[in-house]
């Protein structure tokens, strides 16, 4: 079983309860999910939570089967909507509810026995795989900081509200590998600080904080990078997994 470290922090200026990221995992099954609710959606925090928490119970769509994933989404949408059925809502909440909620999603199945993994993604939460020397060997689904924008693919809670792209990848795992799942703001930061010279210190700080599970160091790094304008002010979530060596 991998060693797992989970960290999530809201946008600067927001309270913890306003964090619209959701991170869930089921260690025994090797299942990990990260969902990022869109700020402009209705009850996005809950939509992200429903998606991530239910996917680790029934990981649909892993082979990239869109129909399989869509039927999972449609089931969760019913769960999500149930909370608001019969509620007396003012005209604007009713209209907003009708538009529904949106979230990006990243789901990972880790098969340590067979030394491989499969991952699916909608949108811009990213998976990074490193070998035992901390060398980046895979960035999925986005590889460049320019790939991040204000319009990622999003899973809607109202069927047909929009279409989305489901991407998937399978690969083998090397002994001593590390996997990091991250929400979009920190993913974009990580990729741009990998390119920029003079950013080795902040990358090193990230690794140090993750390896020592130092949450306050991690928060300080995030605060600094946000203030410097190098990281977008957005909710940040990280799932850090270390695979045992042979």
């Amino acid at each position: 079983m991998p060693e797992i470290f989970r960290f999530t922090t809201p946008k600067r200026g927001h309270e913890r309860v306003e964090n619209e990221d959701a991170v869930f995992y089921r260690k025994s099954s090797g299942l990990f999910a990260l969902a990022d609710g869109a700020t402009e959606g209705f009850d996005s925090r809950r939509w992200a939570t429903v998606l991530a928490s239910q996917w680790i119970r029934a990981p649909r769509g892993l082979t990239g089967n869109l129909e399989d994933f869509e039927s999972f989404v449609s089931l969760q949408a019913k769960t999500w909507a149930r909370k608001w059925e019969g509620a007396e809502l003012p005209w604007y909440s009713e209209a907003k509810f009708a538009q529904g909620s949106f979230a990006t999603f990243l789901g990972l199945h880790l098969d340590e026995v067979n030394r491989c993994f499969s991952v699916i993604a909608v949108g811009d939460c990213c998976l990074f795989v490193f070998n035992s020397e901390k060398k980046l060997i895979l960035a999925f689904p986005l590889e460049n900081p320019e790939d991040f924008n204000n319009n990622p693919s999003l899973i809607p809670s109202v069927a047909g509200e929009r279409s989305y792209l489901l991407q998937c990848r399978e690969a083998s795992l090397t002994p001593g590998a590390a996997i990091i799942m991250m929400s979009d703001a920190i993913s974009a930061w990580f990729l741009s600080s990998s390119e920029a010279t003079g950013s080795l210190a902040s990358q090193a700080m990230l690794w140090a904080a993750l390896e020592t599970r130092d949450r306050s160091m991690l928060q300080r790094l995030i605060d600094e990078e946000r203030s410097a304008g190098r990281m977008k002010n957005d909710d940040v979530s990280i799932l850090f997994l270390t695979i045992k060596g042979s």
Binding site: G13, T39, D43, W84, W91, A95, K96
Partner: protein, 283 residues
């Protein structure tokens, strides 16, 4: 980099709709065949109400509405006045949350929506109304712009707004000013700024005649009349996020494009409001 400030509850952005309500606004649109049935003033009021509705929804969360924007709606015709009436009549700017709770009335309208099987069905939707159509009098554009200048002066003097996304003015007019050349006062307006940049003035000229429209030009060379050139000169260049908003609705805008449409038809008018209000670094 300018025009990149975060828009948040603690750092809201100001939006001003400046509406020509002169007598000629009671005429019909004439630019495209389908527009012939629409009175300019009626359609403009509908677009403004629709835009306010979209802004409210954008800011609404499950349990509250966030004041990402403060809005003012100024009209000019017989006089220069606040178009928001009733409880909102004596206010400079109104926060979105308050706007949401105080429409003049909520109408029931029929809207055609997809039935999920390739067809269309009519659905009743609620249509809140904040602004009623009005048309009468001349076109005191300078007086109106002076009013906006005062409003924005007060806005930017508030230390809370020092780092805000710059105020955006969406100006709709169907004719020439009857109280002088607005160039001077517009220059003063565009000198108003926050740390994120100068106030943005976008102008949309709507036409009652069948005439070729010019959308978001980068140069006044394509314009053949003095009035169009004047409006071009007083229009701000579109920052990147607005160009992006244009792309999202299918308009390919060149770098250096101005926030300016001449001889807009109904479709252009709708797009003008979309581009003008869509960019959001909302947090």
């Amino acid at each position: 980099m300018s025009y990149t400030a975060e828009i948040s509850r603690s750092n809201p952005s100001a939006l001003i709709f400046l509406l020509d309500q002169s007598g000629s606004m009671s005429d019909f649109f004439g630019a495209s065949a389908g527009d012939a049935q629409l009175r300019k003033a009626d359609f403009l009021a509908d677009v403004v109400n629709r835009t306010l509705y979209d802004l409210v929804l954008r800011c609404a969360k499950a349990d509250d509405i966030r004041d990402y924007y403060k809005v003012a709606v100024v009209g000019y015709g017989e006089s220069v006045s606040n178009c928001l009436t009733g409880a909102l009549a004596d206010r400079d700017f109104v926060g979105i949350s308050e706007l949401a709770k105080t429409p003049l009335r909520v109408e029931n309208r029929l809207k055609k929506v997809s039935d999920g099987a390739g067809g269309l069905v009519e659905q009743q939707v609620k249509f809140p109304v904040w602004v009623d159509p009005k048309a009468g009098g001349g076109t005191p554009m300078c007086g109106a712009l002076k009013n906006v200048l005062d409003l924005l002066g007060r806005w930017t003097n508030d230390p809370q707004h020092k780092t805000a996304f710059p105020p955006t003015i969406l100006h709709i007019t169907d004719g020439e000013s009857t109280d002088g050349d607005p160039s001077q006062i517009t220059q003063e307006l565009r000198r108003i700024s926050t740390s994120d940049g100068a106030a943005l003035l976008f102008n949309c000229h709507i036409s009652g005649e069948r005439a070729v429209k010019v959308e978001y030009p980068s140069s006044s060379e394509v314009l053949h009349n003095q009035h169009a050139k004047l409006l071009f000169d007083i229009s701000s260049v579109l920052p990147d996020s607005f160009i992006g908003a244009g792309k999202q609705i299918g308009l390919n805008l060149a770098a250096g494009a101005r926030g300016f449409v001449f001889n807009a038809d109904a479709t252009s008018l709708v797009q003008f409001f979309e581009i003008g209000t869509r960019p959001s670094n909302m947090r």
